[in-house]
């Protein structure tokens, strides 16, 4: 098991999560998140050797259905929601030089 910490590197995690927070929030979040982290470290009290993880709400195994083609959403309905579009496509900033 990796070493646990009592301190989240909030600036680094924000980078991973693709957003910024302001300086004031940084101070506020740091204290709150470290507090929450200290609380969840409570799980260290438990002996979890040999316990299987529960990942789903109910045990579901291999739920199959017929591979039938059904209509997709109409292009105009989808593009109506795009912040920017042209020629029936969604526009984004240049990604290839």
């Amino acid at each position: 098991m990796e070493e646990k910490k009592t301190h989240i590197d909030v600036a680094r995690v924000c980078e991973l999560a693709h957003f910024d927070i302001c300086a004031e929030e940084m101070t506020e979040f740091q204290a709150q998140l470290d507090n929450i982290l200290a609380y969840v470290n409570k799980l260290d009290e438990l002996n979890l050797d040999g316990i299987e993880p529960t990942m789903y709400g109910q045990p579901v195994v291999n739920s199959f259905r017929e591979d039938v083609v059904t209509p997709s959403l109409p292009r105009e309905d989808v593009l109506r929601n795009a912040p920017d579009s042209a020629n029936d496509e969604i526009k984004v900033p240049k990604i290839v030089e």
């Binding site: 070493e3 995690v13 299987e52 529960t54 990942m55 739920s63 795009a82 912040p83």
Partner: protein
């Protein structure tokens, strides 16, 4: 015609329409009028599509004229702003989804329409269902109609405030860690969280996919049974819904009684730090069940104290993954910086689009999944989740239903937890275990505090035990009346 919908149930409205006392158009007009006149202070509703609602009502009246007569036919339902309803906004009370118009119906929306119900009005919530007070909405504060200086609970606070405030007949909410049961309890409504896998999540914006479940917030247990029957069942769009028959929940309520019901009362749910009046009210309700012939026994759910830690690891981890899709590309809010790069588009759209609580939870979730911490946090939480699930499995060997408080306090004052997230999270202690275990639970009003604030009794049943749960809840409701 002047219809008063403030106390009207689904069952009563259905009877009224069958007896031709009023039409669905008249009923829907009465709901729209109530929203206009009475929602000014409570502010449960975000948007109301009057034209669409009336068109739906007209269609329901036509279907009735053609011979249909189902319980949901012509009933307007207030929808939490998390359900996709084709042609309507679906913001999840977040700025990042401002301007989004749903291009499709969620499965629950489709099923409601098939039953003849009308998605009428979108109600407020905590942003992306993250919160227990509805104070984390990006758009407005919703007040508790019972006491306007207090929160309605959350995250489905708009649903409970609309039903309790007399501006909706019924509402649909979602429950990831108590978001149906807690607001129902705070506002004096009935709120049902079905078992995981009972109701489709397709078209319901995901918060934590292994915990989210859709359910009714309504005026009585019978309405919960009716609405659950309308939305439950297998769905080719959601593989986590179990392919099991949907019983006639309403008919199953006939003859509901507490006699011989084995009630388990977990000692870990009656702990220090809870409001003594709330605890006394719940104790008294359980005593009334005993006096009515139920067998009450103390049980133990020994891992309860770990539930909050497990929940806030699992839920935030899943949320950080689910909310990665909000990137400013395909829909919703977009902001591009002067750099005009794709990277800056992602970062700036998410920086300005997400609110504080959502960012806080994404940070925690990203952290527990990040390289080096996955096993220490996420994997440990999943294993501890198994222990919580096993606790319930064992408990249900010796009882039919478990009774507990819904929340440690009654509705609290606005602004009292927004700066202390851990305190707010701990308020979910009695509701999150049911989501972790995938079982069903319902909140039923059982009394009031000296300040006249509603108190809810939580009944928990085993997975897919909705019939027995609803029967027990209906018997309680009769006993407490």
């Amino acid at each position: 015609m002047d219809l008063d919908i403030s106390k009207m149930t689904i069952a009563a409205a259905a009877d009224g329409m069958r007896a031709k006392d009023f039409s669905s158009v008249e009923l829907t007009q009465a709901v729209l009028k109530a929203i206009k006149e009475k929602d000014t202070e409570v502010k449960a509703y975000l948007t109301v599509d009057e034209e669409g609602a009336l068109a739906g009502a007209k269609e329901a009246d036509d279907r009735r004229a053609a011979g249909e007569s189902g319980d949901m036919l012509g009933i307007p339902v207030a929808m939490k702003d998390i359900f996709n309803v084709k042609g309507q906004p679906c913001t999840c009370a977040s700025k990042i989804l401002e301007g989004y118009i749903a291009p499709f119906d969620a499965t629950v929306t489709r099923k409601l329409r098939e039953a003849g119900a009308i998605p009428a009005g979108r109600v407020n919530m905590d942003e992306f269902a993250m919160g227990s007070s509805t104070e984390h909405s990006a758009f407005q504060i919703t007040r508790n109609p019972v006491a306007l200086d207090r929160v309605p609970g959350g995250s489905s606070g708009g649903s409970a405030a609309a039903v309790a405030g007399g501006t909706a007949i019924a509402s649909l909410g979602t429950d990831t860690g108590g978001s149906i049961r807690s607001p129902a309890s705070y506002c004096g409504c009935v709120g049902l969280k079905p078992s995981y896998g009972r109701v489709s999540r397709y078209g319901v914006t995901a918060f934590a996919s292994s915990l989210d479940q859709v359910g009714p917030i309504v005026k009585n247990v019978e309405d919960a049974a009716i609405l659950l029957g309308a939305i439950a069942g297998a769905d080719s769009h959601d593989q986590t819904v179990l392919d099991r028959e949907v019983p006639d929940y309403r008919a199953a309520l006939a003859g509901a009684s507490l006699k011989g019901l084995r009630i388990g009362v977990p000692k870990e749910y009656f702990i220090d730090g809870c409001d003594p009046e709330v605890m006394a009210s719940v104790r008294k309700a359980i005593d009334m069940c005993a006096n009515a012939g139920a067998e009450v026994r103390e049980i133990s759910l020994p891992h309860t104290e770990y539930a909050i830690a497990v929940y806030y690891i699992c839920a935030t981890a899943e949320a950080s993954a689910n909310l990665a899709r909000f990137d400013g590309i395909r829909y919703g809010f977009r902001k591009v910086g002067p750099e005009a790069t794709l990277q800056s588009l992602y970062d700036r759209s998410r920086t300005d689009g997400f609110g504080k609580e959502v960012k806080r939870r994404i940070i925690l979730g990203t952290y527990v999944l990040s390289s080096g911490y996955y096993d220490a946090y996420y994997n440990r939480a999943l294993k501890a989740r198994t222990l919580i699930r096993n606790d319930f499995q064992k408990a249900f060997e010796s009882c039919d239903v478990i009774m507990t408080p819904v929340a440690p306090t009654a509705a609290y004052k606005l602004n009292s937890t927004v700066n202390d997230p851990l305190k707010a999270y701990l308020g979910d202690i009695f509701t999150v275990p049911a989501n972790l275990a995938g079982i069903c639970g319902i909140s039923v009003p059982c009394g009031k505090t000296s300040e006249n604030l509603p108190v809810g009794l939580q009944l928990l049943g085993p997975a897919f035990g909705e019939v027995e749960l609803l029967r027990a809840a209906a018997a309680c409701e009769k006993e407490f009346a």
